[in-house]
C-alpha cells in the first residue's frame, strides 16, 4: 500500500525529499569538513608544532638555559633553534639611490640546518633548504659587467646568505628569484620560493610575507638586540626511548627561570585547529537550523499529502482498519522518504565540503589548509559525519512527520464523505488544519499520545542540538534562541496579518484578494513566514555583524589615528629617529614611548604559577580569561604623563615633580579586576631575570579602540631604570608620504620595523570578509530551505489556487488580475517574513556584538533594506515558479474534471 501511495503523491514527496536533503547536506558538508580538518591536523601535529616538544621564549636563552638544552642534546634529543620576528626588508636595486628602495614588512624566520625536524619544507627550486639558505659564494657574485659599474655591497670575501621567500613578497616588491634583499645590516640573495612550511604558526593574521633565512644570516642582520621582539623556538625531537610527558615536566621545571612556555605536540592545540573546530561547530548549528526549517516543509508536505488521502483513510477506516495501522503505514513511508532524502543530502554534503575549503582558502594568508595537506577526499574519517547526517535526517523526519500523522486518529469517516460536495476544500477538515496557530492544537495536548509525542519531539530537538553543538550550554542556548525566534515570528506574523486586514481596505481587487488569501485557514502563511524569517534572520545577522565589525575597525578610526607604528627603536637611535621624523614630516616632537617586556612574577608576595596545560579543562570562558591575565606577557612603559584617552578611576596619577621612594604602578581596570589588584597591592614583575616590585597607586580605564599605544601597566618614572627597553613611535603622515617615509626610515634604521595601520586594518577586513563569505555560504542553506518550505506550502495549496483561479476566470477575471493577486500575496508574505527577519537579525547581531565582542551595535539600514528587498524578491520568484502554470489553465478543462 505504501508504495502505491508514494507513486501518487510525488509532488509532496519531492518537497519532502528536498527539504531533508538540503538540511542533511548542510550538516554533512560541515561535518565532513570538520573531520578532514581534524584528521589533517592530527596527522600533522608534530609537523605543525615543529617537534615533539617546543620550548618558546621571547628572548635569547640565558647561558644556564642554553646549558639545559645542551644537557638534553647529550641525551640524544635533537634540537633545532628557530627565531621568528617581524622585520623590514628593502629591495636592492643598483639603479636607485639608497633611500628610494622598495620596502616591505615581513615575517622573518631564521632556522638551523636540521630544520625542519618533522614534515618537509616545499621550496622551489627543489633543492635542499640548507643549500638555498647558505648558497655557495659564487652565486652571490654579480655578473662582471654589472659589478664593474655598480660596486656590490657583497664582496668576494663576505659570506653569502640566501633567503627563501613567499611568492607574495616577490609580487609586492616587484622582485624575482636571483634579486637581492637587505634585511637589517645584511644582504640576502633570494634563492627560492616557499610553497609549504610545516610549522608556520596557524595565524589567520599575518603581518607580512614569510622570509626564511639561516641563523647565521639572522646574526648578520644585527636585528637581535636585548629588547627586540622575537619569538625564540627551540624544537625538540625526542627519541622513542624517552617518555615525552616526564620530559615535558622536567624541561618546564628546569627552564622556569627563563619564563619559557614548553608544550608537546599532543597538547599544543594549534590555533588553526581550534579556530576551524569552532567555525565548524557554529556552521554546524546553522546547518541544523536549515534542517529544522526544512522540517517545517516536511511537516507541511505530510499534511498536504494527508489531506489528499483523507478519502482513502476514511475508506480504510470504514472497512475496519485501525488508526495505528494507518499511522504506522504512513510513518514507514515517511521514514523511507527521509532515508532517501538523507542519502541525497549526503551527496549534497560531499559537494559542499568541496566548496567550503575553497571559500575559506583566501581567509588564511599562509594557505593553512594546504599546509596541513588538507584534502576533501573521503576517507574512513568521513564515515562518522555521513552516518551522523543520515541519523540527523531520519530523526528530523520522524520528529516532523509524527505530529501531523497523529491527526489520522481523529479522522471520522462520515465527516470525510460529507465533505465530498465541497471539493477543493482541503482546509475544511478540522484536525488537519494548518499546523500553526489553531487553538485546537493546544487543546489536543490533553490527548496523552500527543503529549507524549510532543515530549519526544522536544527531547529529540534538544538532543540533536546539543549533539551538533558539542556542548550542553551552546546547544541549549542555540535552541533557546531558535525557539524565541520561532515564537516571535509566529506571534508577530499573526498580528501583522491581522493588522494588515484591519487597517487596509485596498480598492484593488487583486490586493484585497491577496490579503484574504494570506489568512485563510490552511494557507500555511505563518509556517512559511517562520521558515523564511529564520533564514533571513541568520543571513542578515551575518551581514550586519560583518558590517559592524568592519565599521568598528575601519570607519570609526579617529581622524588623528596614527599612520605608522615604528617598533624596536633602540635607545641610542631615539634622538636620530626623532630628527628624521622631524625632517620628513615637520612633526617637532614625535611621540616615542619606551617599552619594557615583562611577566608577572608575584602578586602581593604570592608567586604566580604558570599552568601551561590549564587551557585544557577550562571550558569556562571567564576562567580562561583570568588565566590569560596571569600568564600573558606584559609590555610596560614608564612616564610622567597620563596617556590620552585614559581616565583614572581609582587612586591618583603621580603629580608633577613627585619623588618616588618605591616604584608605583598604574593598572588597567579589567586587568586589575582579573588579577585581584587594588590600590596598595604589590605587583612583582620579572624583566629578563631581574624583578621589580611596584605598588599599585592608581587604576585606569583605557579606550582600547583609540589606535594609540595602550598599556595594562604603567610604572612611575625611574622605576625601570637599567632595564633593557626599546621605543615605539606613532607617526601620522599624509597618504602620499607613507611610502617615502617608510623607505627613508628603513634605509637609515634597518632594524626599525614599520607597521602600517591601514594595511593591518585592511587585512583584518579581508579576513572578516572571507569568514563572512564562508558563513553566508552555509546560511544560504537556511534561506534555500525557507524558499523550499514556501514552495512546499504552495504545492500544498496548488490545487485550491488552480480551482479558484479558474472560477475567478469564469466570473470574468483576467489572467493579469490573478497574477497580480498572487504577486501581491507573495510580496506581502515576503515583506512580513523579511521585516520580522531583519528585526530579529538586528536583535541577534546586537546580542552577539554586546555579549561576545563587547562592541556597540549600530543600525545598518543598508544591509537591512537589502535583506528585506531580497526576501521579497525571493518570495516572488518562488511564488512565480510555483504558480505560473496555473495561470495558463483554461477554465472548462479544469472544471470538467470536477
Amino acid at each position: 500500500m505504501a508504495w502505491r501511495e508514494t507513486r501518487a503523491a510525488w509532488r509532496h514527496f519531492i518537497y519532502f525529499l528536498t527539504c531533508i536533503a538540503l538540511g542533511v547536506g548542510a550538516v554533512v558538508g560541515i561535518g565532513l569538513f570538520a573531520a578532514n580538518v581534524e584528521r589533517a591536523v592530527t596527522r600533522e601535529a608534530r609537523g605543525l608544532l615543529g617537534g615533539d616538544l617546543e620550548v618558546r621564549v621571547s628572548h635569547r636563552l640565558s647561558d644556564s638555559g642554553q646549558a639545559v638544552l645542551q644537557s638534553l642534546a647529550d641525551r640524544g634529543i635533537v634540537i633545532s633553534h628557530a627565531s621568528e620576528l617581524v622585520a623590514m626588508t628593502a629591495a636592492i636595486d643598483d639603479r636607485q639611490a639608497g633611500s628610494n628602495r622598495v620596502t616591505q614588512l615581513v615575517e622573518l624566520k631564521a632556522v638551523e640546518s636540521n630544520y625542519p625536524l618533522y614534515g618537509t619544507v616545499h621550496v622551489e627550486p627543489s633543492q635542499p633548504l640548507t643549500d638555498l639558505l647558505m648558497p655557495s659564494t659564487n652565486l652571490c657574485r654579480l655578473p662582471s659587467n654589472s659589478h664593474a659599474l655598480h660596486p656590490s655591497p657583497i664582496t668576494l670575501h663576505a659570506p653569502c646568505y640566501g633567503a627563501v621567500v613567499q611568492k607574495s613578497l616577490l609580487i609586492r616588491m616587484g622582485l624575482s628569484v636571483g634579486n637581492r634583499l637587505k634585511i637589517g645590516q645584511a644582504t640576502f640573495l633570494i634563492t627560492g620560493i616557499i610553497r609549504k612550511e610545516p610549522d608556520r604558526m596557524a595565524n589567520m593574521f599575518s603581518l607580512g610575507p614569510r622570509v626564511l633565512i639561516s641563523q647565521q644570516g639572522l646574526t648578520a642582520t644585527g636585528l637581535i638586540k636585548p629588547e627586540s621582539r622575537v619569538r625564540e623556538r627551540h624544537l625538540l625531537k625526542v627519541p622513542s626511548s624517552v617518555e615525552l610527558q616526564p620530559l615535558l615536566y622536567e624541561v618546564r621545571g628546569r627552564l622556569a627561570a627563563e619564563s619559557a612556555r614548553v608544550s608537546s605536540y599532543r597538547e599544543a592545540q594549534p590555533q588553526l585547529k581550534q579556530f576551524l573546530d569552532q567555525l565548524a561547530r557554529y556552521l554546524g548549528l546553522i546547518g541544523l537550523t536549515a534542517l529544522f526549517v526544512g522540517g517545517i516543509g516536511v511537516s507541511m508536505s505530510v499534511q498536504a499529502f494527508l489531506r489528499e488521502k483523507l478519502s482513502s483513510i476514511a475508506i480504510l477506516k470504514t472497512f475496519g482498519a485501525e488508526s495505528h495501522t494507518i499511522v504506522f503505514t504512513y510513518l514507514g513511508q515517511g521514514i523511507g522518504l527521509g532515508l532517501i532524502g538523507s542519502l541525497a543530502g549526503v551527496a549534497v554534503g560531499v559537494g559542499l565540503q568541496w566548496v567550503l575549503p575553497t571559500a575559506l582558502a583566501g581567509l588564511l594568508d599562509s594557505n593553512l589548509l594546504e599546509q596541513v595537506e588538507f584534502s576533501s577526499s573521503l576517507s574512513r574519517a568521513s564515515v562518522l559525519p555521513i552516518l551522523k547526517g543520515i541519523g540527523v535526517g531520519l530523526f528530523t523526519t520522524l520528529l516532523f512527520t509524527l505530529w501531523p500523522l497523529l491527526s489520522i486518529r481523529h479522522v471520522r469517516p462520515a465527516q470525510i464523505f460529507r465533505r465530498d460536495i465541497a471539493t477543493g476544500g482541503e482546509d475544511t477538515v478540522g484536525p488537519l488544519r494548518g499546523r500553526w496557530g489553531t487553538l485546537r492544537r493546544w487543546r489536543s495536548l490533553e490527548d496523552r499520545t500527543r503529549l507524549m509525542t510532543a515530549t519526544v519531539i522536544a527531547t529529540g530537538l534538544v538532543s540533536l542540538s546539543i549533539w551538533q553543538a558539542g556542548s550542553w550550554r551552546i546547544g541549549l542556548l542555540f535552541l533557546g534562541a531558535l525557539a524565541v525566534a520561532v515564537l516571535l515570528l509566529l506571534i508577530v506574523a499573526h498580528a501583522l496579518i491581522k493588522v494588515i486586514r484591519l487597517v487596509s481596505l485596498p480598492r484593488a481587487v487583486s490586493v484585497r484578494h491577496a490579503i484574504s488569501n494570506l489568512q485563510r485557514p490552511g494557507s500555511q502563511t505563518t509556517g512559511v513566514i517562520v521558515a523564511i524569517g529564520i533564514g533571513v534572520m541568520v543571513i542578515v545577522a551575518v551581514g550586519v555583524l560583518e558590517r559592524s565589525l568592519i565599521r568598528q575597525i575601519g570607519e570609526n578610526r579617529p581622524t588623528d589615528a596614527p599612520t605608522f607604528f615604528f617598533i624596536d627603536i633602540q635607545p641610542d637611535q631615539a634622538s636620530g629617529f626623532s630628527r628624521l621624523i622631524h625632517q620628513q614630516t615637520g612633526d617637532l616632537s614625535p611621540e616615542l614611548t619606551p617599552l619594557v617586556r615583562s611577566r608577572l612574577h608575584a602578586i602581593n608576595g604570592q608567586p604566580v604559577k604558570v599552568e601551561e596545560d590549564s587551557d585544557k579543562d577550562h571550558e569556562k570562558k571567564d576562567e580562561k580569561r583570568k588565566t590569560w591575565y596571569f600568564t600573558r606577557e606584559y609590555v610596560l612603559t614608564f612616564g610622567k604623563q597620563l596617556p590620552q584617552n585614559n581616565i583614572v578611576t581609582k587612586g591618583a596619577w603621580w603629580k608633577p615633580g613627585q619623588t618616588f621612594s618605591k616604584p608605583l604602578v598604574s593598572v588597567e581596570e579589567e586587568a586589575a579586576k582579573n588579577l585581584g589588584l587594588d590600590i596598595g597591592s604589590t605587583v612583582e614583575l620579572e624583566i629578563q631575570g631581574a624583578t621589580v616590585t611596584a605598588e599599585v597607586s592608581s587604576i585606569r580605564k583605557v579606550d582600547w579602540g583609540n589606535f594609540s599605544t595602550n598599556f595594562y601597566m604603567i610604572l612611575s618614572p625611574g622605576s625601570l631604570d637599567g632595564a633593557p627597553f626599546t621605543y615605539v613611535a606613532t607617526v601620522r603622515v599624509a597618504p602620499e608620504q607613507e611610502v617615502p617615509l617608510q623607505q627613508v626610515v628603513v634605509a637609515m634604521f634597518p632594524n626599525v620595523t614599520a607597521i602600517n595601520i591601514g594595511d593591518v586594518l585592511d587585512s583584518f577586513a579581508r579576513i572578516l570578509d572571507r569568514l563572512s563569505l564562508a558563513i553566508r555560504a552555509v546560511a544560504l542553506f537556511c534561506v534555500l530551505a525557507g524558499g523550499l518550505v514556501m514552495a512546499a506550502a504552495l504545492a500544498a495549496t496548488r490545487y485550491r489556487r488552480l480551482y479558484e483561479s479558474v472560477i475567478l476566470k469564469a466570473l470574468g477575471a483576467t489572467r493579469g488580475l490573478i497574477a497580480r493577486s498572487f504577486a501581491a500575496e507573495f510580496a506581502l508574505m515576503g515583506a512580513v517574513a523579511g521585516l520580522i527577519g531583519i528585526v530579529l537579525a538586528s536583535t541577534l547581531s546586537w546580542a552577539v556584538l554586546h555579549y561576545i565582542f563587547d562592541l556597540p551595535w549600530s543600525l545598518q539600514p543598508k544591509v537591512l533594506a537589502t535583506g528585506l528587498a531580497l526576501t521579497i524578491i525571493l518570495t516572488l520568484i518562488v511564488g512565480f515558479l510555483s504558480t505560473f502554470r496555473i495561470l495558463g489553465q483554461r477554465p472548462l478543462a479544469v472544471l470538467r474534471h470536477e
Binding site: I421, A422, K809, G812, L817, L892
Partner: protein, 224 residues
C-alpha cells in the same frame, strides 16, 4: 442574439481525437429560454462552456450581437464573461474559503462596482439567504449553495444566464426552488436563459429544446 456556426470541438485522447461537438450551428435570439438536452457525453456542457468563452473551440464561430468571441484576446474575453455572461455550474463551484457574501461579491468587485458588499447582500436576500451571509460553502446545504451560485451568476445583471444542470445535484424540492428562481430572473429582467438538463419536466418549461447526440444536433424543437 447568440449565433453559433459550424462549431467543432475535438480533444486529443491517446492516439485518437475525441469529437465532442461536430459542426453545430444554432442561433439563439435575445430573451429566449432554451433547454439543451441529450445523453451523457453528447457535448451539452461543452457547448455551454464554449458560449461562455471558457475554452477555445477547434473550429467554427460564436458571435454575440455580431461580435466574434472565439478569437477574442484574453482580456476582452474576461470582460465579455464579466459583462455578458452569468454561469451556473452543476457542482456550484463556490470558492470554498470565501463566505456566501464574499462569493457573491467577487463578480461585482471584478466589475469594479462601488458598493459590492451591499449589492451582494441584497442579492442573497432576494434568493432567501439573508441569514446565511457569513457562512462558508461547506456550512450550507446543496440547495443553499446553488442559490448562492445563482445570486453570484446574476450579480452583474448579465443579459445571458448559462446554467449547466443547475438541479443535477439537488433533490426535487430544492431543485424546484432553484428553477423558480431562474425563471423569475428571466421573467423580471428579460435575461436570455440557456440551460443544460436531463430533467424532462424542466426542459418542458423552456420555449425551445435543442437535443444533442454524439456532438450533433439531433432535434431543435420550438414550443409555445
Amino acid at each position: 442574439m447568440i449565433a453559433i456556426h459550424h462549431l467543432t470541438m475535438r480533444l486529443a485522447g491517446g492516439r485518437h481525437h475525441i469529437t465532442i461537438l461536430d459542426d453545430v450551428t444554432i442561433e439563439i435570439p435575445e430573451k429566449q429560454r432554451v433547454a439543451v438536452v441529450g445523453p451523457s457525453g453528447s457535448g451539452k456542457s461543452t457547448l455551454l462552456g464554449l458560449i461562455a468563452g471558457l475554452d477555445q473551440p477547434t473550429s467554427g464561430s460564436i458571435k454575440l450581437d455580431g461580435v466574434e468571441i472565439t478569437t477574442m484576446p484574453e482580456s476582452a474575453l474576461a470582460r465579455y464573461r464579466r459583462e455578458k455572461i452569468g454561469y451556473i455550474f452543476q457542482s456550484f463551484h463556490l470558492i470554498p474559503t470565501l463566505t456566501a457574501l464574499e462569493n457573491v461579491s467577487v463578480p461585482l468587485e471584478l466589475a469594479g462596482a462601488a458598493n459590492a458588499s451591499d449589492r451582494a447582500t441584497d442579492l442573497l436576500k432576494a434568493v432567501g439567504l439573508n441569514d446565511r451571509l457569513d457562512h462558508y460553502p461547506v456550512q450550507l446545504s446543496g440547495g443553499e449553495q446553488q442559490r448562492v451560485a445563482v445570486a453570484r451568476a446574476f450579480a452583474c445583471r448579465p443579459p445571458i444566464l448559462l446554467a449547466d444542470e443547475p438541479t443535477g445535484n439537488l433533490d426535487s424540492v430544492t431543485g424546484r426552488q432553484v428553477i423558480d428562481l431562474l425563471l423569475s430572473l428571466h421573467r423580471d429582467h428579460g435575461t436570455t436563459l440557456v440551460l443544460v438538463t436531463h430533467d424532462q419536466e424542466l426542459a418542458s418549461q423552456m420555449e425551445r429544446i435543442v437535443s444533442l447526440r454524439d456532438g450533433r444536433i439531433e432535434a431543435d424543437e420550438r414550443r409555445g
